[in-house]
Amino acid sequence: MLTFFLLAAVMVLGALGVITLRQPVHAALALVGTLLTLAVTYVTLQAHFLAAIQVIVYAGAIMVLFLFVIMLLNVEGDEGTVRLAWVRPAAYLTGVVAAAGVALTAFLDARQLPDAQVITAALAGGGAGALGGVLFNQFVLAFQLVGVLLLTGIVGAVSLVERSAREKGDEEVFGEPERELTRV
């Protein structure tokens, strides 16, 4: 129980950091903290494979991509005021109402957890083998669709880069670093 509340405190602090910190890099690092805490929470929930994937894919690959883009674009911690003044209080009110509503529903519909032995037997430690067995039997269609989605994503990303490269003219885009070097 203590573990849960410690992890929950760190997670909420990280989430608050994401939505309040002005510097994008700081906010991204706060999100990394939240994601790593989430990975530890997965371990306490017997989802070991997902914990590993969370660290490798989320805290590793996706956040590196975010930090890369933040540094590439050199985004300032500008922020400033939202154009519509009532948006901010309305957003916080919506958030409080939604969170309280879902939490209240969860506590009103509370179920008894099965015994620890039953959980351990059913989840099989959340290992890659157990997960793969379910994924390749019940979720084959979803698995195939994810494959198509990833292919679409690759094609989309490449076409985005390719088009902006053609607008500038290939010579200019690919010749720029060399010229920088010679000038220095």
């Binding site: 129980m1 849960f4 997670m11 909420v12 989430a15 994401v18 939505i19 994008p24 906010a27 939240t34 989430l38 997965y42 929930l45 017997q46 494979f49 997902l50 994937i53 989320y58 996706i62 991509l65 883009v69 674009l73 500008d78 922020e79 939202v82 309305a90 957003a91 916080y92 919506t94 958030g95 969170a99 509503g101 879902v102 939490a103 969860a106 509370a110 957890l113 015994d115 039953v118 959980i119 351990t120 037997a121 989840l123 099989a124 959340g126 997960l131 067995g133 379910v134 994924l135 019940q138 979720f139 979803a142 994810v146 989605l149 990833l150 994503g153 989309g156 990303a157 985005l160 902006s164």
Partner: protein, 110 residues
Amino acid sequence: MFDASVPTEYYVALSALIFALGAVGVLTRKSAIMVFLSVELMLNAANLALVAFARGWAAAGTEIALSGQVAVFIILAVAAAEVAVGLGILVAIFRYRHSTDVDNLSGVRL
């Protein structure tokens, strides 16, 4: 490490809180990158609830219980694709406008 003393509703409440914080971030932040980070927060909140439900439904057998964890796995793959394309679009918009302020992006709509 395995903790069987925390009921599922605690995890759902925490997940709801994180999701609400992410939603507030999406509504209040101005930079498109910060909006993206908040969306990641919301996706992860949903993942936490799914993993907690997977444990809560352990009595229904391995296949049903692990469905929750498989859903999280699929969401992870979708999130990775979404981030790759989304950040690509962001970089393209930044090259064109020299800003990622979402208030100035009304020209992106159809």
